[in-house]
């Protein structure tokens, strides 16, 4: 009996020390722990596959019972949204193409130039404390830790663990998630310029408005710009002058009228609270931030995501005293609770790329 107790005690001490050593090594990103994890994953994957096949009918039944009404409602809502978006998509595609052409013309990087891998979401995190999902593509597809993950709506997270043919994605709502972002200030501005005797009036606003219909006369061109925050593009309705012939209307934006951008850091706050953007400069140049302005990735040589990937829109601005700057609550564009397919941008910042 004493010998048995002694053996058990030794086993406990040995296992505890092993665990402590593993925690220490893993927090230092030791390749040995990654190797162990990968080896266990390779061994365990077939067992998990069998269990998945056996238990799938139970899971499907459960999902059918618990989500039937939600699916009906969602389906109806999606039909409405599809109808609304069809028209907007055409205009957006044209704007995106134009933007990419301009960026390419100026030798600037674009999202279209970055290779991407499409993956299917095969599971959520087995624990309730972390906001992670599992996808069915891994190192064999060129995926590396840190790469940004998107869906059709925008950024959803980044890769945190990579196995040969599967990976874990930390969602943007995870408390450990953070990335540098840009906040685009689109406060109401009115610019008036005159070219060859024709007055051009440009009005831009951050809140969705119905297009204003003006009766054009010979001397005035009216351009109404309505910014749709979620879609992240600008739809323009232009009424051209009927006469006189041979005259051209050109709107020249002043440097002070261009959208001002300010950088900050977005951080997740768990699934029930919206992520927040901190470290926004409280400068006069930037002006006040209103709800509805878009948040996009900042990019840069050290950022894990390329610039201008849409994240969401500001839902609330919390003013803080002193020089702390405002705190922005962000409504994420992507629906994180119902992810099926995601796109991994095979993007690595210059500082992360290994020299050949």
């Amino acid at each position: 009996m004493a010998s048995k107790n002694s053996t058990q005690r030794r086993a406990i001490i040995l296992l505890t020390l092993t665990s402590i050593m593993l925690v220490t090594l893993d927090l230092q990103d030791s390749p040995k722990v990654a190797g162990l994890r990968s080896a266990f994953g390779t061994l365990f994957y077939p067992v998990e596959g069998v269990a998945r096949v056996i238990t799938r009918p139970i899971g499907n039944a459960w999902y059918g019972v618990t989500h039937y009404n939600e699916l009906l409602d969602e389906n109806s809502l999606l039909r409405q949204q599809v109808a609304q978006q069809e028209g907007a998509t055409v205009a957006a595609a044209a704007s995106v193409r134009l933007s990419q052409e301009l960026l390419a013309l100026n030798g600037l990087p674009t999202l279209a130039g970055i290779n991407a891998v499409t993956a299917q979401v095969i599971g959520e995190s087995p624990t309730s404390f972390s906001q992670k999902i599992e996808i069915n593509q891994g190192a064999e597809s060129g995926i590396r830790v840190g790469m940004p993950v998107l869906n059709a709506a925008g950024l959803i997270g980044r890769i945190t663990k990579v196995f040969n043919n599967r990976s874990f994605v930390m969602l943007i709502t995870d408390p450990d998630f953070s990335i540098s972002v840009k906040v685009v200030s689109t406060g109401r501005k009115t610019t008036e310029s005159t070219v060859l005797g024709i007055t051009s009036v440009t009005t831009s606003t951050a809140v969705p408005l119905e297009p204003i219909s003006n009766t054009p006369d010979a001397e005035t061109t009216t351009t109404t710009t309505t910014t749709i925050p979620i879609a992240g593009f600008t739809a323009v309705v232009t009424t051209l002058p009927a006469a006189p012939q041979g005259l051209t209307s050109i709107t020249i934006p002043l440097a002070s009228d261009l959208d001002v951008r300010e950088t900050g850091v977005i951080q997740g706050n768990g699934p029930t609270r919206q992520p927040t953007v901190r470290f926004i400069d409280n400068s006069l140049r930037f002006g006040s931030i209103e709800a509805g302005v878009p948040i996009v990735t900042a990019g840069g040589s050290r950022s894990l995501a390329p610039p201008d990937v849409l994240i969401g829109v500001v839902s609330r601005v919390v003013e803080r005293v002193g020089s702390a700057g405002p705190l922005l609550e962000v409504e994420i564009a992507a629906e994180l609770t119902n992810l099926s397919f995601v796109r991994i941008l095979l993007y690595q910042p210059i500082t992360e790329k290994k020299s050949p």
């Binding site: 058990q8 296992l15 999902y63 599971g123 624990t127 404390f129 699934p271």
Partner: protein
């Protein structure tokens, strides 16, 4: 058996999420081992199960092992306090140990610097995990008894 429970944890119980909370049957297995076989066996089963669990999730390896080890040992205290077990007291102990186990997870995560957000949802997580574990515990008590008894015979 642990491999089988782990496979169920990473497949079926990852998808069945009442109130958005994943059931923790690996935690239940450890608790049942502790409740029936005492502190030492509870700790050993917890350490081994946690080590296996750590290798399939993305939290730091070894963290789950320590957490489940301590939970198994805590569950083992049941035999120390109640040497002649009563069936309903076992269910209460399972619920209590599940609650403690989830709190240990949070403490461990905070200790290694992982982000822990204290919010009302934590109460929901703990309550749902405890409820699921209590519901499944009669079956798991039989499974753990059978598994660990078989091991005894092998020796």
């Amino acid at each position: 058996m642990l491999l089988f429970v782990l496979a169920l944890q990473t497949t079926l119980f990852k998808d069945l999420r009442p109130f958005g909370v994943a059931g923790q049957i690996i935690l239940l297995f450890v608790i049942c081992a502790g409740i029936q076989f005492g502190i030492s066996i509870g700790a050993i089963v917890g350490l081994v199960a946690g080590l296996m669990f750590d290798f399939v999730v993305s939290t730091p390896a070894g963290l789950g092992s320590i957490t489940l080890g301590v939970t198994g040992a805590t569950a083992g205290l049941y035999l120390y306090f109640f040497p002649n077990p009563i069936w309903w007291l076992r269910l209460v102990s399972v619920a209590f140990a599940s609650l403690i186990g989830e709190i240990y997870v949070l403490i461990a995560q905070a200790m290694v610097g992982l982000g822990v957000v204290i919010e009302l949802r934590l109460l929901t997580i703990i309550a749902v995990v405890a409820a699921i574990n209590v519901g499944l515990s009669p079956g798991f008590l039989i499974i753990t008894r059978w598994t660990l008894s078989e091991r005894k015979k092998d020796r």
